[in-house]
């Protein structure tokens, strides 16, 4: 049994579980956390899951865990692991079912004070324009041929159809399209589920939120991103919907046999994997990229719908109601990247599950306008609390495979949250704080209550203290749309 006393403290914000802590570990675990956050992590299975993740064949460096860590399935939420390309493994369970769940941030020139009285109308318009909730279906219905185009082209498909601008793509991770997606590696079932769900938010912790920029911490970065104190911004949090869920389900099932064929022993069957250069690994990678591209297109269509809602409510009432994109990042993804490991440039597959890419200044993957400031890192808080915009650093490239935290991180089960919080009471409390809420389900709202999550300020203080991201701006919610 591993306790806090088994961990080596590197700094106030970084800890190590040595490789010798358990016999089957291939690499150490590095945790970015304050002592308080780390002690809380021992309340669930996130530490055990991080140690289990170190048994994946072909790992390099350390398994990294972010301060918003919490128990998931197989791999902890907040986990980052890199496997050597091409002989290391890829694990669908270490990426998750909601492939390319992510966050998009749109900026504006809209002064909060000037449109405060329009926000309730804006909440209704966003709710009407952006389909959400259990089983929601989108306005865009795709033929199989069109779905294949979405799989292969992601946001480029959306640009061609008039849902995107060239700037949107430039300011999206991977420009909104991963190469190497192969729709032939996607099951008919996944395609059937995907065809009706493009342009939908879904339910659970997915949301659209209008925030006001509350405080700027780094003028240079805020200016480059277009963040202005007192102005509105929009966050869109969702993923690949049933399309991605089905692809992950199919391949977790498929790889149950592959681990036996490749004689891979794992402590948890949810971590099933296959070598990247095996037919099974290649097939999953090609299918996962289809889901990733679907999710990029999904958030793009929702951004288009949000822009329409803003136009309906604010055109003519404010000088400029447009919503230029700041950035779009992914949370659950496996990406082939090159990182410096022990002084050597190594091509790896970086698994991020509930963690974001956070590339530092000068990374060739970033658009020109972010070259000097680093990649925008979007960290939504829990409902009703602050969200943060950070920027990637040189240290994140050296110490966390260019990664950072993705949110607040849950501390309370959904069941407990519903027992302790009444959805209607919570809605009234949020409204009293000036936050306009539209929710598909009041019990669903209760599950996402702020007290069910860690303090996001403590999470971002940790990554900033560790140096793997720097603070740019704090956002305060004024409108929340939940499925």
């Amino acid at each position: 049994m591993i306790g806090l006393d088994s961990l080596k403290q590197i700094s106030d914000y970084e800890w190590e579980i040595p490789r010798t802590a358990r016999g089957d570990m291939r690499v150490p675990v590095r945790l970015f956390a304050t002592r308080e956050l780390l002690e809380a992590a021992f309340d669930d299975k996130s530490i055990e899951q991080a140690i289990n993740a170190t048994t994946l064949p072909g790992l390099v460096g350390n398994v990294i865990v972010m301060p918003d860590m919490h128990q998931g399935y197989g791999f902890p939420i907040g986990g980052v692991a890199a496997t050597r390309f091409p002989d290391g493994v890829i694990s669908p369970g270490a990426i998750g079912y909601d492939i390319n769940c992510g966050v998009r941030l749109l900026g504006s020139f809209i002064d909060y004070a000037a449109v405060k009285d329009q926000l309730d109308d804006l909440a209704s318009a966003l709710n009407a324009h952006c389909p959400s909730g259990v089983g929601s279906k989108g306005a865009v219905r795709l033929s199989e041929a069109e779905l294949n185009q979405v799989c292969e082209n992601g946001s480029k498909w959306a640009l061609k159809k008039g849902y995107a601008t060239e700037q949107d793509l430039r300011r999206t991770e991977e420009r909104g399209c991963l190469d190497g997606a192969d729709p032939d590696k996607v099951s008919d079932r996944a395609k059937e589920r995907g065809r009706a769900q493009l342009g939908t938010l879904g339910a659970g912790n997915h949301f659209i939120e209008v925030d006001v920029v509350d405080k700027i911490f780094a003028e240079d970065a805020a200016q480059a991103m277009g963040l202005r104190e007192g102005c509105l911004v929009v966050q869109i949090h969702c993923g690949s919907r049933g399309f991605g869920h089905q692809i992950c389900t199919d391949y977790v099932q498929e790889l149950q046999g592959a681990v036996k064929r490749y004689k891979i022993n794992l402590p948890d069957r949810e971590l099933v994997c296959a070598p990247l250069n095996s037919p099974e690994g290649q097939a999953y990678l090609a299918a996962m990229r289809c889901a990733a591209n679907f999710a990029f297109a999904n958030r793009q269509i929702l951004a288009h719908a949000a822009r329409q809602a803003f136009e309906v409510v604010l055109a003519g009432k404010t000088p400029n109601w447009h919503l230029p994109q700041i950035y779009d990042i992914t949370h659950n993804m496996g990406k082939i990247e090159t990182h410096a490991i022990d002084g050597e440039r190594v091509k790896v597959c970086v698994h991020r599950k509930g963690a974001t890419r956070a590339f530092g200044p000068g990374s060739p993957e970033l658009p020109d306008e972010y070259q000097t400031i680093g990649q925008p890192v979007l960290v939504p808080g829990s409902m009703g609390t602050a969200s943060w915009v950070l920027a990637g650093t040189a240290a994140s490239m050296e110490r966390s495979f260019g990664s950072s935290c993705h949110g607040a991180g849950r501390v309370m089960s959904r069941h407990q949250a519903k027992r302790e919080v009444r959805g209607e009471t919570l809605r009234r409390e949020l409204e009293a704080e000036g936050i306009h809420v539209r929710a598909g389900s009041l019990p669903g709202l209760a599950e996402e209550a702020p007290q069910a999550y860690k303090n996001v300020d403590a999470v971002v203080e940790t990554v900033a203290g560790a140096g793997i991201a720097r603070l740019v701006a704090r956002l305060k919610p004024v409108t929340v749309i939940k499925g």
């Binding site: 669930d44 998931g72 049933g242 977790v252 149950q256 948890d268 069957r269 949810e270 849950r410 407990q416």
Partner: protein, 139 residues
């Protein structure tokens, strides 16, 4: 979420982010039924009375864990495709093959969506209650 007054049964277990469901029954067929009942209870599915609809499910599986995950994943797929939930099950497990007739009705209301059935720490164990397992659902 509990159904312990009668054997077999199911009970929700604590999980920080997702849902964990403990199920038990005297045999594998009963375990699959309890798991299905528990899964629909977690989603708070309410079925309309009519029309009743029946589906045939056939699964070849190397072990009991695979059949459990595959069976529930099949039901979830039908639920999401056809907006149907199931409450009656006729199951036969012989020589690594499950043959099932599942019967249900259109869903009148549903509170929560399950994204997937996971293998996380899944083990079908033999205990004094017969067979037991704890299934983690991604929500």
């Amino acid at each position: 979420m509990q159904n312990t007054s009668l054997q077999p049964g199911f009970r929700e277990q604590p999980h920080t982010a997702d849902w964990a469901l403990e199920v038990w029954a005297s045999d594998l067929g009963g375990l699959l039924q309890q798991a299905a009942h528990g899964m629909y209870a977690l989603m708070q599915v309410k079925l309309s009375g009519e029309p009743r609809e029946a589906y045939r499910v056939e699964i070849n599986a190397a072990d009991r864990e695979v059949v459990l995950v595959t069976f529930l994943s099949e039901l979830l797929y039908f639920t999401q495709r056809d907006n149907v939930g199931f409450d009656q099950f006729d199951l036969t497990w012989e020589e690594q093959r499950l043959t099932a007739m599942v019967e249900g009705a259109p869903i009148e209301s549903i509170a929560k969506e399950i994204k997937a059935v996971t293998y996380h720490n899944l083990e079908v164990r033999e205990t004094e209650r017969g067979l037991e397992a704890t299934i983690v659902f991604d929500v």
